[in-house]
Symmetry: C2
Subunit: 143 residues, 2 copies
């Protein structure tokens, strides 16, 4: 994968406050939800905080297939990561992703019983910009 494309993917994720997370429901229909991006550390493993009681947590436990999409609407650029999501309830992961302000959603803090973390592991990434379009394994991003 071209260095310029790698840089573009990284820049797009770094500047994104929101990601669009895709799942497949029990009837086989795709579902999408916007989620806040609290960390930009790694492209292979990406974390999102969410409600353990949500419908989507149950969906991911049934079917871990997922995607995470970042886009720059104004510039017709997008990066689509495809992989799987695991629901993490361990304290270490919850503490790692905790940010000031999270208590608005989880009044009980890091140990709030409704707070959990999606751990997304990417397998492939697709990047488009204008008419160019590239798909590669996630490992190629780090070569």
């Amino acid at each position: 994968m071209d260095k310029k494309i790698k840089d573009n993917i990284r820049k797009l994720r770094d500047s994104s406050k929101v990601a669009y997370v895709g799942s497949v429901n029990g009837d086989g229909f795709p579902q999408i939800k916007a989620m806040l991006v609290f960390e930009h550390d790694d492209l292979r493993i990406q974390y999102f905080s969410t409600n353990l009681s949500s419908k989507r947590c149950a969906q991911f436990r049934e079917n871990p297939k997922a995607c995470v999409y970042y886009c720059d609407k104004g510039r017709y650029k997008g990066a689509l990561f495809t992989g799987t999501i695991e629901i993490c309830e361990d304290r270490e992961t919850r503490a790692m992703l905790w940010r000031d302000g999270c208590e608005m959603y989880y009044p009980g803090g890091i140990d709030d019983p409704d707070y959990c973390v999606y751990k997304f592991t990417a397998k492939t990434v697709n990047f488009y910009s204008g008419l160019s379009n590239t798909t590669a394994s996630i490992d190629e991003l780090y070569e």
Copy 2:
């Protein structure tokens, strides 16, 4: 469905320049792409223009299960429509969705062989705003 929620869903779609369209690929993974919204006529049937040669057209022909998501990131509001997508190549539908500027993508105009239209038929809609969350059949929106 509450009148206020119906109004919110309609307002959200009316003000959206972009929708996030979900599909399921041949390996069963969800996929997302941002698409321009050229019409806001009906919530039951929604149209999007796209490239006939794209991977996603082939995906929808294999598996028509789809979703269309609109969101107001700043206000934590979102409307997720779940349904099916049919690929339309007939001139009437292509002409109906054609807008000034489309020739940038389809230099051959309405009859460009790579221009086609997604016809999305919604079955259900989910709307969330803050912590409230409602799912209903699409017909309830029109009751």
